[in-house]
C-alpha cells in the first residue's frame, strides 16, 4: 500500500511572485467575519458554488411553476386560465429563467465552481474575488429579470430569443423588457468572469502530476465550456447593447420600419427600408451566442454523467481520449451551426449549416458509445445518481435523434416553430440539465454536506420524474407534426390537438410531484443526517480523497497522481489505471502502480 504523502496544497510552478497571505486564516472563525457578513465577503469557491446552486434551484422551481401555468392554459383549447398577454409573459419568463438563470449558472457557476478546484487539487479558484463578483452579478441579474413581474406592463413577453423587431421599443415598450435585457447583461458578464476563472484554474492550478490527460472528464468538459463561454457570451452582450441602443438611443440597427432617407432640397424624406438595419442581424448575433449556449448548458452535464457512470460500474471511463476529443469536436462544431435556427428565414446558406449540424451527431454518438462501454461488463449499482444518468441517456438519445431530423432544412421547414421543436429541445435540455443535473446533485451532495440523501426517496424521485417526462413530451412530438405551432395560448378545437395537450399537462403535474419528493428528501437529510464519510461511493477522482465537506483550502493530504483516478489508485492499488498522455500510451503497464511513493519527511504547513 502506498504511503500517504503527508503534504498539503503545493505546486510552486507559477512564476509570479508568491505572496503568503490568507485574509480569514488568521485564527479562523475568531477573527474573521461571521454570519451574514461572512457569506457576503466569502471568496471560498465552495461557499460561492453553494450559493449559486441554491439560487439556481430556487429559480428552477419558479420557472417550473411558470411551466405549470403554461401547461394548464394549454390543457384545453380555449382556456382562459391566463390572458393572452399573461401567457406570453409566462412562456418568455419560463424559458428565460431556465436557460439564462438556472441551467448555465447551476452547472458552471455552481457545480463547476465547487468541484473543479477539488478535482485538480487546487486550494481555490484562480481568481477568488472575481469568482465572488460573478455570483453577485448573477444574483443581481436574477432579481432584475424577476422584477419585470412587478413593473407596469409586466415582465418581458417576447420569448426568450427576443427577436427584433418584436423586441424594439414600439412593440415592447415596457420596463419589463428593459429589465430582461439588463439582466442578460449582468448574467452575461457573470458567466464570462466564471469562464475566465475556470480556464485559468484548469490551466494553472493543477496539482503536481495532474497532467492535462489525467484530469477527470468533468474538468475537461468545464475547460471546454469555459472557452465556449468566452466565445459566445460576448456576442450576446454586444447584441444586447445594440438592442438597448435601438430601444433608447434612436438607432436603427435592427429596425427597418420607419426609416427614411435624408431630406434634401426639393426631395422630402421618404420611407426607405434599405436605409435601415436588419432584423436578421439580431438573429445572426443571437444565435451565434444561442447555439454554443445550449452546448455550454449540455457539456457540464455530459461531464457529470461521465463522472457517475464509471463509479457505479466500478470501471474506468471507456475511451478517455475519445471523450476528450469528442467534447472538443462538439464544442468546435457547435460554434459553426448557428443559422440552423434560421433555416426558414430564407437568407442563410442552408448546406453549410445543415452539414455541420448533422456532423455534431458524430461526436455525441461517440460519447454515447463510450458511456455504454463504461457500463459494459461492469458491476452496475443502481444508486440514485446512476438511475438519473441512465434516464439521461434515454432522454438525450431520443432528443438527439429528433435533433438530427431538425438539422435537415426541408424537414425543418415544416417542424420549425412547432411543438416538434419544443419536444426536441425539452428532451435534450431536460435530459441533460435535469436528469444529469440531479444525478450530480445526488452524487456530490455527500461531499458537499457530509451527509447522505435518502436512497429510497431519491429512487422515487427518479421514477416519478422519468414517467412524467415521457408522458409530458411524447404527445408534443405528435401534436407538433400535426401542425401545432409553439408559443400559442389557444388553439382550434376541431383539429384533434386537445387530447394530446391534456395528456402532456398531466405529465407536467407528475414531474411537479417528483420535485416535491426532492424537497422532502432535502428536508429529511437536513433534520436527520446520515453521515457520509470521505468516499461513500468508492469513487475515483481526487475530490473523494478529502473530507466531506472539504476543509478550508480543500486538501491537507494529496495522494500521488498517476492517472485520471488518483483516489481509486490509492484505494485499489491492485487494479491500477493506465495513464494517458505524453509518455504513457496506455498500451503497457507504464507507471501505474509504481509511483515514487516516498514519504515526505519535512512537514510543510498549509500556507
Amino acid at each position: 500500500m502506498t504511503d500517504v504523502i503527508d503534504l498539503p496544497v503545493t505546486g510552486a510552478g507559477v512564476h509570479h511572485p508568491v505572496v503568503h497571505e490568507h485574509g480569514a486564516d488568521h485564527g479562523h472563525d475568531e477573527h474573521g467575519p461571521s454570519g451574514l457578513l461572512k457569506w457576503m465577503t466569502s471568496t471560498d469557491h465552495k461557499v460561492i458554488g453553494l450559493s449559486y446552486m441554491i439560487t439556481a434551484i430556487v429559480i428552477f422551481y419558479l420557472a417550473g411553476l411558470m411551466a405549470l401555468g403554461v401547461r394548464i392554459q394549454l390543457a384545453s383549447p380555449t382556456s382562459s386560465f391566463v390572458t393572452l398577454g399573461q401567457y406570453n409573459e409566462l412562456f418568455t419568463m419560463h424559458g428565460s429563467l431556465m436557460l439564462y438563470l438556472f441551467a448555465g449558472p447551476f452547472a458552471f457557476g455552481g457545480l463547476a465552481n465547487y468541484i473543479v478546484p477539488l478535482q485538480v487539487g487546487a486550494p481555490d479558484m484562480a481568481f477568488p474575488r472575481l469568482n465572488a463578483l460573478s455570483y453577485w452579478l448573477y444574483l443581481g441579474g436574477s432579481v432584475t429579470m424577476l422584477m419585470g413581474f412587478f413593473v407596469a406592463g409586466g415582465a418581458a413577453n417576447f420569448a426568450w430569443v427576443a427577436y427584433a423587431p418584436l423586441s424594439n421599443v414600439t412593440n415592447s415598450p415596457g420596463a419589463g423588457a428593459d429589465a430582461w435585457i439588463m439582466s442578460l447583461a449582468l448574467t452575461g458578464f457573470s458567466a464570462i468572469f466564471t469562464g475566465v476563472n475556470l480556464v485559468a484554474t484548469i490551466f494553472y492550478l493543477r496539482a503536481p502530476g495532474m497532467t492535462m490527460f489525467r484530469m477527470p472528464i468533468f474538468t475537461w468538459n468545464m475547460l471546454v465550456t469555459g472557452i465556449l463561454i468566452l466565445i459566445a457570451f460576448p456576442v450576446l452582450t454586444a447584441a444586447v447593447v445594440l438592442l438597448v441602443a435601438d430601444r433608447h438611443f434612436g438607432t436603427h440597427i435592427y429596425t427597418v420600419v420607419g426609416c427614411t432617407t435624408t431630406a434634401t432640397a426639393g426631395h422630402p424624406a421618404v420611407a426607405d427600408p434599405t436605409a435601415c438595419g436588419s432584423p436578421v442581424l439580431w438573429q445572426n448575433l443571437f444565435w451565434f451566442f444561442g447555439h454554443p449556449e445550449v452546448y455550454i448548458l449540455a457539456l457540464p452535464y455530459f461531464g457529470i454523467a461521465t463522472e457517475v457512470f464509471p463509479v457505479f460500474s466500478r470501471k474506468p471511463v471507456f475511451g478517455y481520449k475519445g471523450m476528450v476529443f469528442a467534447t472538443m469536436a462538439i464544442a468546435a462544431l457547435s460554434t459553426g451551426v448557428w443559422a440552423h435556427h434560421m433555416f426558414t428565414t430564407g437568407v442563410v446558406l442552408l448546406p453549410f449549416f445543415s452539414l455541420l449540424s448533422l456532423l455534431i451527431a458524430v461526436p455525441t454518438g461517440i460519447k454515447f458509445f463510450n458511456w455504454i462501454g463504461t457500463m459494459w461488463r461492469g458491476q452496475l449499482q443502481f444508486t440514485t445518481p446512476m438511475l438519473f444518468c441512465i434516464g439521461f441517456l434515454f432522454a438525450f438519445l431520443m432528443g438527439g435523434v429528433s435533433g438530427v431530423m431538425l438539422a435537415s432544412p426541408p424537414i425543418d421547414f415544416f417542424t420549425h416553430d412547432t411543438y416538434f421543436v419544443v419536444a426536441h429541445f425539452h428532451q435534450v435540455l431536460f435530459g441533460t440539465t435535469v436528469f444529469a443535473g440531479f444525478a450530480g446533485l445526488y452524487y456530490w451532495y455527500p461531499k458537499m454536506f457530509g451527509r447522505m440523501l435518502n436512497e429510497r426517496l431519491g429512487k422515487a424521485h427518479f421514477w416519478v420524474m422519468f414517467v412524467g417526462f415521457w408522458v409530458t413530451f411524447m404527445p408534443q412530438y405528435i401534436v407538433g407534426l400535426k401542425g401545432m405551432p409553439r408559443r400559442v395560448a389557444t388553439y382550434p378545437t376541431n383539429l384533434g390537438w386537445h387530447s394530446w395537450n391534456f395528456v402532456s399537462t398531466v405529465g407536467a403535474f407528475i414531474i411537479a410531484a417528483s420535485f416535491a419528493i426532492l424537497l422532502v428528501n432535502l428536508w429529511t437529510s437536513w433534520r436527520r443526517p446520515v453521515p457520509a464519510g470521505n468516499n461513500p461511493w468508492d469513487a475515483h477522482t481526487l475530490e473523494w480523497f478529502t473530507t466531506s465537506p472539504p476543509p478550508h483550502h480543500n486538501y491537507t493530504h494529496l495522494p500521488p497522481i498517476r492517472s485520471e483516478r488518483p483516489t481509486w489508485d490509492y484505494n485499489h492499488p491492485e487494479h491500477p489505471t493506465l495513464a494517458h498522455g505524453p509518455g504513457h500510451n496506455g498500451s503497457s503497464n507504464g507507471h501505474a502502480g509504481h509511483t515514487n511513493g516516498s514519504v515526505a519527511t519535512t512537514e510543510v504547513p498549509a500556507s
Partner: protein
C-alpha cells in the same frame, strides 16, 4: 504550458478554417465577422501561451529550430511529479473581501436605472467607484484590507 497553447491555437486555427470556408461560400458579413473574432480569440492567448512555453523551456532566442531542453516542464505537466516536489506556497488567495459584493451591487443598481429612473445612476456609480478603489487597495496590500 505547451498543451494550453496548442489548445487555444487549435481553436484559432479551427475558426480560421471555418471562417474562410463560410466567407467564400456565402459572403455574409455577420457570420464572417463573428468567425473572424472567434479566430482572433484563439490565436491571441494561444500564441501567448505557446511563446511562453518556449521561453520556459529555456530557449534563448525565440525562433524555430533551437531545441534545447534546459529548464524542464512545470510540475503539473510532468507525469512523474510527486506531491512533495511541489511543496510550498501556491499563490495568493484572498480569504474574504467585501469588494465583490460592493461591485456586484453597484452594477445591479446601475441596471435598475432602466426601471427606476436616471437618478439611480448616482448611488450605482458611487458604489462602483468605491469598490474599484477598495479592491485595488486590497490587492496592493496582498489581498487583505
Amino acid at each position: 504550458m505547451k498543451i494550453e497553447g496548442l489548445f487555444l491555437l487549435g481553436v484559432g486555427i479551427f475558426f480560421g478554417a471555418i471562417g474562410i470556408a463560410y466567407w467564400l461560400l456565402s459572403y455574409e458579413d455577420g457570420g464572417g465577422m463573428m468567425l473572424l473574432g472567434a479566430c482572433l480569440l484563439g490565436l491571441l492567448p494561444g500564441g501567448f501561451y505557446y511563446y511562453w512555453h518556449r521561453r520556459f523551456l529555456g530557449y534563448r532566442y525565440f525562433y524555430w529550430g533551437k531545441l534545447e531542453r534546459t529548464v524542464g516542464v512545470r510540475l503539473e505537466d510532468r507525469p512523474d511529479a510527486t506531491i512533495e516536489e511541489g511543496a510550498g506556497v501556491v499563490n495568493s488567495f484572498p480569504g474574504s473581501s467585501i469588494w465583490p459584493f460592493c461591485l456586484g451591487m453597484g452594477a445591479f443598481l446601475l441596471v435598475l436605472t432602466f426601471i427606476f429612473g436616471v437618478w439611480f445612476v448616482a448611488p450605482a456609480v458611487g458604489l462602483i467607484l468605491v469598490a474599484a478603489v477598495g479592491v485595488t487597495a486590497e490587492s496592493r496590500r496582498g489581498g487583505h484590507v
